[in-house]
């Protein structure tokens, strides 16, 4: 059998060790190392983003009360531990920015795009390994620029992660000068990194698939990353262009978004959301793909409706381009256009429904193993549905009149991004951790972390719907200013306490992650009995991945196949023509 024929000490590995430290771990061109570099970077940013969220929550739960430890912050941010309104706005802006651009996006695309694509398609590395290295080392300065904004005169960008002009265009309006400019610059630089990465992914998937790895034998994680890469490739340049125009408005006196000299504030919104909506699908599609892998594995069943899952991904990505106006229903945009956007937005529910029900279909009559990745993956489905359904309220233009820019939106954001993307990421990290580091994560603590996160996540974000229904506006420094929000103060405090607990239990994950690196049980080649090509090589895989290029004989989710005794059937196992009709490396 071809699978087990791969020796454990391949030639490639010795060659690997000859690389000096700096080429091996710092300026690495190995996609696996680059993936791990992205992992470290984005987990740090996830942590920082979470920390900012805690400050936000403190202010909302306990306004005018000094924040514990807040006195370490300088006077310009929090005199006496009480956050200033301008600092609060920076916090919200940077929380959104860091989470979206520096945590979730690099985690999904940077980490798993890099790590999984070559391994899962049977390639030795990316098509352009050196470009790959650059894409990481361009992201790092972008992150530094972004963090630098906290230390400049006038504070960091404070116009929200959406940076609506003209507030963001003129320092006089916000009191922020250098901070906003650094913000724009950083995003433009990060954009370059993303575009290089996407170019690489697309080329790799198109050109470097192993023999027999036809399009319809690709795992959904790869399909979703492929479609995501296309979205990145085409959406990010719009942001870069817009960011540069806004940067020029700030620095060299252009007037793109300045209504007093012929500019158009709504133009910024159109450009931002023309990028922004595809962006939110960039933040969910890879999660959906990896969850598909994990759910099929956990259920020990082929993925239900593999082909329609792929078409649904494509449909979501396509529709994602023509719905951006749903963020602008109340912006003064042409209301007739708004109607069109309502219809297209509604339609996105259809491919999403296909995905959700197909995941359920996969579990139906399965033989479900509740390993930690599976717990997270099922939570993903459960939570994404809540976030998706709340999207329907907002898609209905009349209802959106009332709930636009309220906590209903904030609840939606977090159900899709935390309940969705981040749960999927917890699942994906635990699933591929053994492959990445050659060690297993602790199962007991993994379960504890999952359970507590699931509980506190819901306690934190579910009540936000109710705040929104009560009319609670978002980006509101001190809700106690409004009489009609006074009765909601209790809910706000409840959310804050839950959020603090949510943050605290993440320590379990961090510790489990770090301690398992050294103390974890040694991981076998294929700890989850999975079918993907990455599980046919040692954990961690050597430089160059495969000793001999694998040949692929079948689709990725052949669990519980009647052809074999075991309940999994790896993609590269040759059963011979007679027993296996799917054996010929067919067309795609």
């Amino acid at each position: 059998m071809a699978t087990t024929a791969i020796p454990h000490e391949p030639v490639a590995r010795t060659e690997h060790q000859e690389l000096p430290f700096i080429r091996k771990y710092i300026f690495a061109t190995d996609h696996k190392i680059i993936g791990i570099q992205f992992l470290i970077m984005s987990l740090l940013f996830l942590f920082v983003g979470g920390l900012l969220a805690m400050m936000i929550r403190w202010q909302l739960g306990f306004p005018e009360t000094p924040m514990p430890g807040g006195t370490v912050l300088p006077e310009t941010m929090a005199p006496g531990g009480i956050l200033l309104p301008e600092f609060y706005n920076s916090l919200v802006t940077m929380h959104g920015t860091l989470m979206v651009f520096f945590a979730i996006m690099p985690l999904l695309v940077g980490v798993f795009g890099n790590y999984l694509i070559p391994l899962k398609i049977g390639a030795p590395d990316m098509a352009f390994p050196r470009l790959n290295m650059w894409s990481f080392w361009i992201a790092v300065p972008a992150g530094i620029l972004m963090l630098a904004g906290f230390f400049v005169e006038g504070g960091h960008a404070a116009a929200g992660w959406t940076a609506y002009a003209p507030l963001s265009a003129k320092g006089e309006f916000s009191g922020v000068f250098a901070g906003q400019q650094l913000w724009l610059l950083s995003l433009a630089v990060l954009g370059l990194s993303s575009i290089l990465g996407a170019t690489n992914y697309i080329t790799t998937i198109v050109n470097l698939r192993a023999p027999g790895m036809t399009w319809f034998r690709l795992p959904l994680s790869i399909w979703s990353l492929f479609i995501t890469a296309i979205l990145v490739l085409l959406a990010i340049p719009i942001l870069s262009g817009a960011a540069i125009m806004l940067f020029f408005d700030q620095t060299i006196g252009t007037h793109f978004f300045d209504p007093t000299a012929g500019g158009q504030p709504l133009l910024w919104q159109h450009l931002f959301w023309y990028f922004g909506h595809p962006e939110v699908y960039i933040l969910i599609l890879p999660a959906m793909g990896m969850v598909s892998d994990i759910i099929a594995n956990g259920s020990r069943k082929p993925l239900f409706g593999y082909h329609s899952m792929i078409y649904a991904l494509i449909a979501i990505a396509f529709l994602g381009w023509i719905v951006w106006g749903h963020h602008m229903f109340q912006s003064g945009m042409n209301p007739t256009l708004g109607m069109g956007f309502m219809v297209t937005t509604m339609l996105i529910a259809v491919p999403s429904a296909i995905k959700v029900f197909n995941w359920m279909g996969t579990m139906w009559r399965g033989n479900i193993r509740f390993h930690v990745p599976m717990l997270h993956a099922v939570s993903f489905v459960a939570m994404f549905v809540i976030g998706g359904l709340s999207g329907i309220f907002m898609a209905s233009t009349p209802v959106d009149i009332y709930i636009h820019d309220t906590y209903f939106i904030v609840a939606h954001i977090h159900y899709v991004l935390f309940g969705g993307s981040l749960f999927a990421l917890f699942g994906a990290i635990t699933f591929w951790y053994p492959k990445m580091f050659g060690r297993m994560m602790n199962v007991f603590w993994g379960r504890v972390h999952w359970f507590l996160t699931f509980v506190f996540f819901n306690l934190t974000f579910f009540p936000m719907h109710n705040l929104g229904v009560g009319g609670h506006m978002r980006r509101l420094y001190d809700p106690s200013e409004y009489e009609f929000l006074q009765p909601l103060a209790g809910t706000n405090r409840f959310i804050t306490v839950s959020a603090l607990l949510l943050f605290t239990v993440q320590i379990i994950f961090a510790l489990n992650f770090v301690i398992s690196l050294f103390k974890g049980k040694r991981a076998p080649e294929n700890p989850w009995d999975d079918n993907g090509l990455e599980w046919t090589v040692p954990s961690p895989p050597p430089h160059g991945n495969f000793v001999t290029t694998p040949t692929v004989y079948r689709p990725p989710y052949e669990f519980s196949s009647p052809l074999v005794e075991e309940d999994h059937l790896p993609q590269d196992r040759d059963l011979g023509q007679k027993t296996d009709p799917a054996s010929a490396p067919g067309t795609g």
């Binding site: 709504l266 133009l267 159109h270 256009l337």
Partner: protein, 93 residues
Amino acid sequence: MTSDTHEIKHPSYWTIWAILAVLTAAELGVAFLPWPKRVVVLILVGMAVWKALLVALYFMHLRFEKGRMRIFAIAPLPLTVIIVIAVLTEFVW
């Protein structure tokens, strides 16, 4: 690499170059014609698209690529049209 058989029916690069140069000169003339602005704009845009197509088809060899590559090249174009048309309706309504 694609096979070389296409090279035969390939028009001379210098011919394309000459057409481009002539079109550019013609554009200069058209721009100052005393015709209604709309007509002039329409003609100019038409000529620009023509020139752009010449470059894409012959200099970038799109004409001789496989169908798949051609799809790649034109895939983003609908997206450019979508945003411009949609935002333009802001000024018509």
